[in-house]
């Protein structure tokens, strides 16, 4: 793809890409931190995670501003137009992922004072899958790699299955011993939050496909095998 004749425009689009990427890196790290706080029963780390949400929100506003400025001043077309509208939408998902990290940190604080009902195995696994999906969706955004993006969409099933599995397991704990209900419920929330992170990463990947191909694969009953 040749560069823009107007280099200032090229630079601004570069800034936009970088900002989206930085925001993505931040929320990915936030998820990791929140889950670590939960597993290590580290209340201070949980509070630090919640603190970071302000930075994420600031990115959200900045990217919106930059996108609006580019739309108004440059009247972008085709690929450029799709990049900017995609950036606008991706930030909404990233901002929501940041919220999920905050929620996980809140549950971590609540659970830090109580005895664990079981060793945490599935939750760190889910967190790894979710963060990997997010990382790959952002890589796909930068590299404009639709195959990578499609892989993210396919990975969503895995995280859904993990959530389902954890749900059944926690349910059995609650049935056996009602004293575990409040703790099990909180863990179930965490599982649900991570499952939502996977959904948001999938949204991002779908938008990357739209950005590159100009074709929407959202809301299809079945994912296409190839693009």
């Amino acid at each position: 793809m040749p560069l823009h004749t107007d280099r200032a425009f090229e630079e601004q689009l570069g800034q936009l890409r970088t900002a989206v990427l930085e925001m993505g890196g931040l929320v990915e790290e936030q998820i990791g931190q929140a889950v670590r706080a939960l597993i290590q029963r580290d209340e201070a780390l949980a509070r630090a995670t919640i603190e970071r949400d302000h930075t994420v929100n600031r990115f959200d506003v900045e990217i919106d501003d930059l996108s609006l400025k580019l739309l108004a001043l440059r009247q972008p077309a085709a690929r450029d137009l799709r990049l900017i509208t995609t950036a606008l939408k991706i930030t909404t998902d990233l901002e929501r992922i940041g919220d999920m990290a905050t929620h996980i940190a809140e549950r971590a604080i609540e659970l830090a004072g109580e005895l664990p009902i079981k060793p945490y195995i599935d939750i760190p696994r889910m967190a790894d899958v979710a963060r990997d999906m997010l990382r790959r969706s952002l890589d796909a955004f930068v590299r404009e790699d639709t195959e990578l993006a499609l892989g993210v969409c396919l990975a969503d099933d895995m995280i859904d299955q993990l959530h389902e599995q954890l749900f059944r397991e926690l349910l059995s704990y609650m049935v056996e011993n009602p004293a575990t209900v409040s703790r099990a419920m909180r863990l179930l929330f965490v599982s649900k939050y991570l499952e939502r992170v996977g959904d948001h990463a999938t949204n991002i990947a779908e938008m990357v496909i739209f950005m590159v191909k100009g074709r929407s694969i959202r809301h299809l009953d079945k994912l296409p095998r190839e693009l």
Binding site: M1, P2, L3, H4, T5, D6, F9, Q75, P76, A77, A78, R79, D80, L81, R82, G214, R215
Partner: protein, 268 residues
Amino acid sequence: MLDPALKRAHPPAAATDAPLKIAVRDLVVHYGGTRALDAVSLDIPAHRVTALIGPSGCGKSTFLRCLNRMNDHIPGARVTGQVTIDGDPIYAPDVDPVELRRRVGMVFQKSNPFPKSIFDNVAFGPRVHGERDAVRLSEVAERTLRQAALWDEVKDRLDRSALELSGGQQQRLCIARALAVEPEVVLMDEPASALDPIATAKIEELIHELKNAYTIVIVTHNMQQAARVSDLTAYFYLGRLIEFGPTERLFTNPTRPETEDYITGRFG
């Protein structure tokens, strides 16, 4: 997936449900030894605005001028291929170019009112075609000046010189003059490039109105203008038609990389 029809090198038709008005097949134009237009095929639908875009020298104005045989006047110009309007071949030997230009009117970049009164400008065409009845000429003047959204501004001074009008008004007068002979097709070559944004907006609004009654083909250097006013856009480069399709698609998701580079401002 992509519409297979759009993958062809010279797509003659763009997806539209409108009936065909002008069919161009393998149009080649030489100016002396220079090939200005290279085997262009294009279907222009009726009652739609078709925009021709592309960098200077790409052949878009040459193409436009072929549609009413304005190239006949250029020494050394040679035109081959076929252009039909409603099925009538316009380059057939028995076609009278003057009669053709009554069917296919033209508006130029620089407004060029005659140094006559406003009324005489609009009445000029009908008079040339033999209309002498004063009442009918007045009717034509009012109808076309209304169509050109100029009536309210000039109705009290039809006998004043057209040269007293502002640039934007002069251009609308030229549009009215083109409409006075009841053409079927109106060709516009950069009709708003010398106008301020308000006059431009009026011309663009006018184009929207006019397509109900006419088929419009417009050449413009202003891509946003093409995006705003046209239903279909054709991108020309180095005398060839690169891509033709619905404007909405061409500006959001063009099929050809050359088109993408041009509309996004990557001029190499």
